[in-house]
């Protein structure tokens, strides 16, 4: 939800307070919901709501942010979007920053509708697809939202487009990164970071140093740690040099399935398992940031 303060300052502050840049992805998948819940009801929207509220409550106070995946909710149509609204409201009550993972991207007049929708639904920030150009991004910033535009995504088959080489030697992903950096320069907060960040997959960390050089002032939303095969160590190449606090290192590291579907250990409930997995990954990330001097 847009506020007076820059999104980037709020996010940096939240990471400083938590001491870790962990973002927990909320990707509810019907087939993977805990048996303790599926025993209670078969209504898909009720089930999804109960699971998402449990995830939020399990990670509040551990992670500074959550990232609900819009697709998982849209799967149930308008009922599912209702559950998304409910989940976001709970996350905000619990003090979490909410990044809506929707990867929207459309021309300016349409982007304004999407930005209004993201405000209505209560998101602090959204993920965006930059393929259509700057007009697909600007309306979100003008609405006071944070945004993370796709630069280099974590899936293996993204190379075919994002690694294609331009005549000037840059990859398509690097070219997009330079557009993001240029557009984001007009939206820098007090901490030196832009409200326009970038999505840079942990599994593509070999490209990380170049992308960080192109985008020095961007928060990187880093998916791909955990189930997709990226590791905490892959995040090292993405950190912002010369930062003096954890938040100013400029990364928000997302894990979804490895946290929210963490297997229970002896005597644990499913929410205990989520809290334990979040705490464990949060601690790993904290150590990484400390070793980077922040």
């Amino acid at each position: 939800m847009p506020q007076d303060q820059h999104f980037a300052d709020r996010l940096a502050g939240a990471i400083d307070d938590a001491g870790t840049p962990l973002c927990v992805g909320i990707d509810p998948t019907p087939e993977r919901l805990p048996a303790a819940l599926t025993a209670l009801t078969t209504d898909p929207a009720e089930l999804m709501a109960a699971f998402c509220i449990g995830v939020v409550d399990s990670v509040a106070g551990i992670a500074p942010a959550v990232k609900p995946q819009s697709a998982c909710f849209e799967r149930l149509g308008s009922m599912g979007v209702g559950v998304l609204e409910h989940t976001i409201a709970r996350a905000r009550q619990r003090g979490l920053i909410v990044v809506l993972d929707a990867k929207r991207g459309d021309i300016g007049s349409t982007a304004r509708h999407y930005a209004a929708g993201a405000c209505v639904i209560g998101a602090d920030a959204v993920t965006l697809n930059p393929y259509m150009g700057r007009s697909a991004i600007e309306p979100f910033l003008e609405a006071g939202l944070g945004a993370f535009a796709l630069a280099r995504t974590s899936n293996p088959d993204s190379d075919e487009i994002q690694s294609a080489r331009l005549a000037n030697g840059a990859s398509v992903g690097e070219h997009v990164a330079s557009v993001i950096a240029d557009l984001g320069a007009g939206h820098i907060g007090a901490r030196g970071l832009s409200d326009l960040g970038a999505v840079v997959g942990a599994t593509k960390s070999s490209d990380g140093a170049r992308l960080r050089a192109i985008m020095p002032d961007q928060f990187f939303l880093v998916p791909g740690v955990g189930a997709q095969g990226g590791t905490v160590d892959d995040v090292r190449a993405l950190l912002r040099p010369g930062a003096s606090t954890p938040g100013e290192l400029g990364v928000l590291v997302n894990a979804s399935r490895s946290v929210i579907y963490a297997p229970t250990e002896q005597g644990e409930t499913w929410t205990d398992a989520i809290s334990r997995a979040a705490r464990s990954l949060g601690d790993e990330l904290r150590s990484l940031l400390q070793s980077a001097g922040a």
Copy 2:
């Protein structure tokens, strides 16, 4: 909604039956709704529903397809998505093909959720963003939906990314087009057209001949005619050579604002004005196809 028949065959048949490739974009904008409706209720969802049903009923029997713009509905949160469901159901009752303009694009596991959502909501086809790669597209085809992936979009600022020149001389848009053609080759129907089409803006028709050469078997969904400044004549360069029926010319030409907000003339209701604007543009497009020999 997925059916036994290939989407491309159904679309070609619907265009043949209508004799025109007109698609009417349903982009409800609160500030532009007809006074005759805003006088009746101030409830935003009721207003939007009444408008969208009026649009559908006004163009049924004239255009073969409609394209609801998801952003305009998402703007009202889950209530708006409810209106979208209602609008799509009405369009299907009236025999219209429904292309959901959502421009989704995410990795395979997430794309499967989006595809399931598009089926739940009743769409025949969706628009997709290919920046993340083939895995962002395939799940929709596997679910039996049609798809139109963005190749060259109609907005002026798309050039910065889509016209960037690769080392091999192709533009980024042309490179994406070759990926679309290759992926679509596995999904060709009885009429020789693929269930995977492409979005090619009318305002970029100077690129049209090259894009048609790269994508001979794709339906082109062509936005940008009307309010965005493209003309019917711009569509000529996008037609598929050697076609023997209107549908096989391989274009679906969208107009949104110029049809659904058509000003009323003396004695007309707002729905009359929409029907008249749709009929007029539909006739222009019919003449174009006839002059192309189909």
